[in-house]
């Protein structure tokens, strides 16, 4: 009965490969997010979707493409992976658009590019 689930939990891949991370929430929330956490623990928002509509795209390289097939799912596809993409990627959801509704985070996907 995990609220926000991400797969895979770990991902090790070579430079230049393409990979996807999947996220699903069973909370009935309208808004979903992707955050990147670097080695210094800094949390940076990448994308936000509200009812399948993209509302935030924070100057993320074109190699990153989110897709929301329905409001319970938000996947992240990354093309031509680079060493600098190594990080922990967190999916999150909130009942409505806005920080004051409280974010529920998944457990993260640790991406290592070698």
């Amino acid at each position: 009965d995990t609220a926000v689930s991400q797969t895979p939990k770990y991902l090790v891949t070579q430079m230049g490969n393409d990979k996807s991370i999947k996220c699903e929430q069973n909370l009935g929330h309208d808004t979903m997010y992707w955050y990147k956490q670097d080695s210094k623990k800094f949390l940076k928002i990448m994308f936000s979707y509200n009812n399948k509509e993209l509302i935030i795209n924070e100057t993320v390289p074109n190699r990153f493409s989110p897709k929301s097939p329905d409001k319970a799912h938000l996947n992240l596809h990354i093309n031509s992976l680079e060493l600098g993409d190594s990080a922990v990627y967190f999916c999150a959801s909130s009942p409505r658009q806005g920080g004051s509704y409280g974010y529920t985070f998944g457990s993260g996907t640790r991406l290592t590019v070698v």
């Binding site: 210094k40 623990k41 935030i56 920080g99 004051s100 409280g102 998944g106």
Partner: protein, 111 residues
């Protein structure tokens, strides 16, 4: 103006002591100030939050103190326990806009 500055970067506290983490902001339009707690290998989780019309909010051993004029807010953990060892993030948001997170504080509580 959209930044939230957090200090210290790391904090070591003896069991039973008080842990204090501070945050400062510039944008006076921020209207919601939460704290998130993150354990290793887990995502951040909402711990406690405050709005600027209140100067203090307490939930168990966790208290947020809010100073609107100074544009600062802080998290106080009373009677700190080893189980409180985690990374703590302050954050701020405006209405329907996204959360802006601070840089995080790694708290270690030793027995």
């Amino acid at each position: 103006q959209q930044q939230v500055k957090q200090s210290p970067q790391s904090l070591i506290v003896q069991k039973g002591g008080i842990s204090i983490i501070n945050c400062a902001y510039e944008n006076t339009a921020f209207d919601y100030f939460p704290w998130y707690q993150q354990f290793p290998g887990k995502g951040p989780a909402l711990l406690i939050a405050i709005r600027p019309d209140v100067s203090e909010k307490k939930e168990g051993r966790f208290t947020i103190s809010f100073n609107k004029s100074a544009k600062q807010f802080s998290l106080h953990i009373m009677d700190s326990q080893p189980g409180d060892s985690a990374t703590y993030f302050c954050a701020a948001s405006i209405g329907p806009d996204k959360l802006i997170f601070g840089t995080g504080t790694r708290l270690q509580v030793f027995p």
